[in-house]
């Protein structure tokens, strides 16, 4: 048995891969490298074989790499020199006795601006798009004002490609005219790009909400008659702010309960905190508060607080603060309707037209016109799942829209709480009888019960030039569940 296995093992080794095992690692090859656009001091990683034997790397323009380090025999890190040619060319790799040129090409970057969008003025929080060429090696965008400058690092860009950078103008950008926009490159070089006016914008999509931050919720402590104390360390108050409220939750109040607040050195946290009677409101609430003024803030952050008193049990200590909650706003999530808006259908009564009349192609059992009693606004609500025509309007004459590529088609959407919209929507905009495929995910899975605006750039749909709308059909088709509401199908000029 043993012999049989040995024989078979030898056989197995003999018949297994018979490729020529000459030392391929010593043969100079270059497989790939990146990046393919460089500035002086850009790090280029080259992959191939025999990288440990490379003695010289020549960039287009007959410039030798500043330095080269073989990371292993298949990877070489080189630093690009100054003076690399703008014309693409091969990298030349040399060993002591061999030379090879890459098939891929490499060239020097020549960053340039084509235009900004918006071109002249932008508000903080708003999107700014820089369109140009060779923006690839941009490491940051700097907003330089007369006295201050703010930088947005590349990781915080909304998007970066070689021809376009999009970013949100930072909240703390200098708000003034003629702010200088600079590109900062990876090698430290900078380039003045343009000047633009920066105005104060509005923080988007959210609201300040009151929140309790727990700083103690360990085992309840029965205070007794000034017998026990609850200590909360300063580190728990690192984020407390002026005008927050220190709140002590309690249970089991006895007769004449009293509170007491000390700082970390057993001094009074503030005037009047040595001892104080809990009020009837405190007893009703189950907690008592102390405001965080400047003095209290300093004491909390330096020494924390020690809580005592008599005739109650401390169950929890929090501070009440204001936090910014994204998407919390009620109305700021929808785009405004302006004098430049071309309203395709707002579902209100206009002469003979109204939602029912205009929506004649949609499933009348699935779409219901709802009028908000409070505001009088009429919108469309899906009362059952639709698949196909969801919105349409083919009765209102909109004439000719010039330069459709400069417009964005929009609709306001509200998804009721508890409704989740599947991503598979197969959505299509219909613009002047022209069906434009958008596909899945046009509408988010939820809007948390709020109205938001859905937008699609008409140019992204391949539309351009002047379009005769007349009474052609406009609308939206796709698969959407019950509980989704639509309003204000419209065209708006791009920002």
């Amino acid at each position: 048995m043993k012999n049989s296995i040995c024989i078979l093992l030898i056989f197995a080794l003999w018949v297994s891969c018979s490729d020529d095992e000459t030392n391929v690692a010593d043969t100079l090859t270059v497989a790939a490298f990146y990046p393919t656009i460089v500035m002086e001091d850009t790090e280029v990683i080259i992959t191939g074989t025999a990288m440990e034997q490379i003695t010289e790397v020549i960039f287009p323009g007959e410039k030798a790499a500043k330095s080269l380090v073989a990371l292993d025999n298949t990877r070489l890190k080189v630093i690009a020199p100054a003076g690399v040619s703008l014309e693409p060319g091969s990298l030349l790799l040399r060993t002591a006795g061999d030379e090879i040129a890459s098939r891929q090409t490499i060239r020097a970057a020549k960053p340039a601006l084509s235009y900004l969008n918006p071109a002249e003025g932008v508000a903080t929080y708003a999107n700014l798009t820089i369109v140009g060429s060779d923006l690839f090696l941009t490491d940051a965008i700097r907003f330089v004002g007369t006295t201050e400058s703010v930088e947005v690092e590349a990781m915080r860009f909304v998007r970066k490609s070689n021809t376009q950078i999009s970013l949100s103008v930072p909240a703390d950008a200098p708000v003034e005219e003629n702010v200088l926009l600079k590109l900062v490159f990876k090698n430290g070089e900078t380039m003045d790009l343009a000047r633009l006016n920066v105005e104060q914008g509005q923080e988007p999509g959210g609201e300040w909400q009151t929140k309790e931050i727990k700083v103690y919720d360990d085992d309840p402590v029965e205070i007794g008659a000034w017998a026990a104390w609850v200590t909360v360390g300063a580190d728990r108050f690192a984020d407390v702010k002026l005008d927050d409220i220190l709140r002590i939750y309690f249970s089991d109040p006895g007769s004449n309960p009293q509170g007491g607040l000390r700082d970390g050195n057993w001094g009074d946290l503030a005037d009047g905190t040595n001892y104080f009677d809990l009020t009837s409101d405190d007893l009703t609430n189950g907690y008592y508060d102390w405001p965080v003024d400047e003095a209290v803030l300093e004491k909390l952050q330096n020494g924390g607080v020690i809580i005592g008193g008599s005739s109650y049990t401390v169950t929890k200590v929090v501070y009440v603060t204001q936090v910014w909650v994204e998407g919390g706003g009620e109305t700021s999530l929808t785009d405004p309707i302006t004098e430049n808006t071309i309203m395709l259908n707002d579902y209100e009564q206009h002469g003979d037209h109204n939602a029912s009349w205009d929506m004649s192609w949609a499933d009348s059992e699935a779409t219901l016109a709802i009028t908000d009693e409070e505001t009088g606004n009429t919108y469309i609500r899906l009362v059952k799942e639709v698949s196909g025509w969801t919105l349409n309007c083919n009765h209102v004459d909109h004439g000719t829209v010039q330069g459709i590529e400069n417009y964005v088609i929009k609709v306001d959407v509200l998804i009721e709480d508890g409704v989740t919209v599947p991503v598979e929507q197969g959505a299509q905009w219909v613009i002047a009888d022209d069906w434009k495929w958008v596909g899945d995910g046009l509408i988010p899975e939820t809007t948390n019960g709020k109205w938001i605006t859905i937008r699609t750039d008409c140019s992204a749909l391949g539309l351009s030039g002047d379009i005769e709308f007349g009474t052609k059909t406009n609308g939206l088709a796709g698969a959407f569940p019950a509980g989704v509401c639509f309003d204000n199908l419209r065209l708006d000029p791009k920002d």
């Binding site: 049989s4 891969c17 998007r159 727990k214 994204e326 992204a460």
Partner: protein
Amino acid sequence: MKFIKHISYLVLAAVCCSSCVDLDYTEVTSNDEEWVYQSPIYGIQQLVTSVYAHVPNGFDKNYEGGSGATLAAATDEADNAQSTSSVLRFYNGGWSPINPFDFTWTNSYRAIAEANNFLEKLDKIDLSAYQYNNEYEAMKAKFELFEYEVRFLRAFFYFELVRAYGDVPFTLKSLTNAEANVMKRTSAITIMDWIVEEMDAIAEYLPITFATELNTDIGRATRPMCLGLKARTLLYKASPLFNTTDDKSRWLAAAQANHDLISYATDWGISLGNYADLSGTNNADGVEIIFAAKQGRLDSWERYNYPVGVENGGSGMCPTQSLVDAYEYLDNEQAFGERFSGSTINLTTDAPYENIDPRFYATVVKNGDIWPNYNTAPIETFEGGLNASPLLNATQTGYYLRKYCDPNVNISTNNSTNAQHGWIIMRLGEFYLNYAEAMYHYYGDAETKGDFTLSANDAINILRSRADVNMPSWQGTPANWSERYERERMVELAFENHRFWDVRRWKQGQKFASIQIVTIHKAANGDIILTRGTKAREWDDKYYFFPIPFAELNKNTNLTQNAGWGSTN
């Protein structure tokens, strides 16, 4: 004996016949190259799609590349009720270089080979013929991203390999058979360092989300994924399995990377949502999700894991009492296993599930639950109950699985439905935990913030204060902090394929040497009584790393075997 001899011949014959396509390279150039590069959508894009298609997921590309059990059933999280499942080989002695669970090896190297091939021919992509098409801009934007997407994926697959095998052959270029046949193993640390550098190099070129792209594709590589892979890699690099000299600076680097992701997440619209939203339809679109593999509409997970007694239910992976013991209570920091440590618990009078961490209810199905939604009878896991022994494949742990199941999916023969499922590969919660672990190990206490904005406890407390969890916060650095952290991580990430690797990187394999199970019976007075028990499993320290498949060793004499798995060749 004769039978064994025949088996030996068959095995050896199979080895002899195995392909010479070393490191399991696929024939990525089998398509006509000219056609590929003249056909952007069907050619070039397909090359990229093919790399994505290798991304594993627990639904239909598990540890063997199939469906059924996941690695959770090879840990103390779960016991597999189906005794024929291959997952049992992880702990019953059936795991070997000849029978090696080689999916991670073959799948990852195939993906890497395809990625290398794609990246070497980037210069051949020429879209100029399409410049007058309506979709040209969208097409160009999409194709410009391919390089970075593929580089992310290549790093992702190297992480898969390093996590499973430690040192592995490392190449960033396409190999001929001859080259592949002589590849040596590169140290895991070298590869981890490369992953980190690679993520640093490419992250800023990838979108934060594809929702804002002209092509609103889903599941493609993003900037948060890059930061996530970097942060996860650095955590592994700092962990005892890889950090054999206890180099503290590695914990600091891990803390920094995880903190970076947490910080950016706010700006990028990634936040902690409800824990319950991690399961069910649209879970992959949740606000917390960084990387998920969407699987379309299916019911296989429910068919595998719904209890027996539910028509067509297979019981599948049953949560263990070891897992249940880890859940703490809302009223103090005691865990189930501490509060109810006795050998028996009267479920009727002791009410041990009251006030338990809400994540329990999102993960586990217990006796008395209505499950799934269409089932009219409550689940009975007591002996003789509707969903219990002596039914074939009934739970041996006393529990059934809820995580990732969509309770609205009906698997009955006459009314079957299905639903979209998403396998979570990265989510924000993991990185809060990673950060807490790294901070604790670097600073030696859980309250220090150092140069960061959060202490270890702060990170844990943010995680525990989700709206539908809201567990008591942690304070101080008790002696058992690390143990409690490991418990918290087990609870938070249950059934998400972390535990298998976490216990290994902590070098705590003995935790898998047995699991806690229970038997439940109905007493004469009607009370339901839970009795604890232990089920032994095999653990050997060689299990810290997977064995290099014997077939690979046989082809390449430069490859060495992992410790404990037999001869070097």
